[in-house]
Symmetry: C2
Subunit: 339 residues, 2 copies
Amino acid sequence: MLEDRKLDVLRAIVEDYVSTQEPVGSKALVERHNLGVSPATIRNDMAALEDEGYIAQPHTSAGRIPTDKGYRLFVDRLSTVKPLSVPERRAIQTFLDGALDLDDIVARTVRLLAQLTRQVAVVQYPSLSRSSVRHVELVPMTTSRLLVVLITTTGRVEQRLVEAPVEVGEHLLGELRAQLNASTVGVRLPDAVARLSGLPERFGAEERPVVAAVLSALLDSLVEQHEDRVVLGGTANLARFGPDFPFSIRPVLEALEEQIVLLRLLGEATDPSGITVRIGAENAHEGLSTTSIVSVGYGTENEVLAKLGVLGPTRMDYPGTMGAVRAVARYVGKIVGEG
Amino acid sequence: MLEDRKLDVLRAIVEDYVSTQEPVGSKALVERHNLGVSPATIRNDMAALEDEGYIAQPHTSAGRIPTDKGYRLFVDRLSTVKPLSVPERRAIQTFLDGALDLDDIVARTVRLLAQLTRQVAVVQYPSLSRSSVRHVELVPMTTSRLLVVLITTTGRVEQRLVEAPVEVGEHLLGELRAQLNASTVGVRLPDAVARLSGLPERFGAEERPVVAAVLSALLDSLVEQHEDRVVLGGTANLARFGPDFPFSIRPVLEALEEQIVLLRLLGEATDPSGITVRIGAENAHEGLSTTSIVSVGYGTENEVLAKLGVLGPTRMDYPGTMGAVRAVARYVGKIVGEG
DNA sequence: ACTGGCACTCTTCCCACCTGAGTGCCAGTG
DNA sequence: CACTGGCACTCAGGTGGGAAGAGTGCCAGT
């Protein structure tokens, strides 16, 4: 049973707690928000909210703070994403427009997000699997060593070193390069894998081992979905998280060091189109139980290339953070889409 | 006037303080080290050491802790680099031998260093300026857009996107590619710049603008010394630095986010051949005044390709840290040298 | 030159106390 | 029936006073 006023009270509690970082009591609540009722009434509502698990008391004689469940309700029903101001939008645009290449775009994005939200920013590189092959290049390093270079439409360059079982002649190299490009250029990465299956048969028995070695490296580049690169920024903001946070900062830093963990967190995003917010224990990772993650996909109009987001204490400014994340994702998507 | 025993006392103080993290008094000192004299005598020595600025008292009735100057003396004259144990060496080797490519080597190195020293590890990418050109590739993206790819002997791949002023024909592309490679392959990057100066003249007036654009991008890749990439690891160890550290953790994290700062810190290394230790305020960067940096160059026998090191509290185990850093640098140097 | 002894200085810990914020509950009111 | 004012209760946090303990500096003695 959630009547309107109780929801108002919850909203007020979340807002106050987020801004003051201190448990909020009934008296302060009626003073700062015109709820039109007395503290006693609010107390009743608060008691009910506590029974239902939306708020909690750190200790008996303190105010209330929202629980994960309370934040959840707040995000789902009580808040609207706060759009950025015009100057902010302009700043984003000019900052990102200055980017030189993909690395630079990602680097700038992560810094931007961290600055804007004053939290820890996470940006995933645009996915390879959804892009297609622009070019394959074979470069001889020594007579029996080759560098296989894969260039994709998103501008990424993947490289693999190949130890050829025998010496590789200039002619074979040229032929192989031509064949590889003919089979894969313009093809989506996952599809390119299939296109290459019949390739060895087009070569002589002597050349097969070399072809196989090169192919294996190339397939490796293609398959190993390099959705696995993420970039971090704004870790210094962790220190801002609060005076009690130093104790819990350790596990957070540890989690952030594990790329796999970060990827899983971004990947777990449930809402494919919109912003996903995972609050506290919803992040299936101990050590992040007092943090929330706001993430969103970015890319072209038709497809999501990768995700980005920020990580902060559960007591974060959700509307503002969501606004910033959404805005940045849009601009980055536009830029990546063009380039 | 530094007699032998006073040096012994200083060494003992540093060792005890590093291991206990607590100010060390005269009584504890004689108990834990067999100095052969009474606490009172030690007290006299300590008073002298304090006068000379090697140790200090946090407050009147506390033991002494080493000052930056004390650590300096300890590192310079009182300690010997502690070699790693055989299992440790073996672990390093097997861990690094599994690396796939340069990125992987660097990533593994940074993790290894962080784990071994339990501090923050910093690894700089092998310098481009000391490597030479392996291959230059031009890849058409659209009719007027080219990707210029530079591959170096250290296995690094640099890419630049070029907006050609006019359409670029297949023939010009091939010709330009051939000329570029002919002029630069096998040449040191800085020298390659000079080799390219006369190139535009070999092309017709119509083609000049395209050539100039490509050249500009390539020169950019060559000149922009990509000694500027550093990778970090083990930041979670910052939380281990001590109970008082949370307050000073903020500026440290901020410093670590600035690649430029890190590069300067690594670059400042004075001793070109051996290990450099910069203690506390010696790191000309406020916020790092309670940290020390142990760094060393790595590379082939003949040349230093880049640097790596760790950052930790001034109260670190210098002999152990120096041993780990040195050992890792040797193995990485070997691997990079081979590859 | 070293040592034992001693007085002195501080930090730190503990305990007791008080204050104040905040609550829950209840009786009363529109 | 929903709201309100009042009131007793609880408990975290701050304050202050010892008491304990670690460590020092100094001095007289060997």
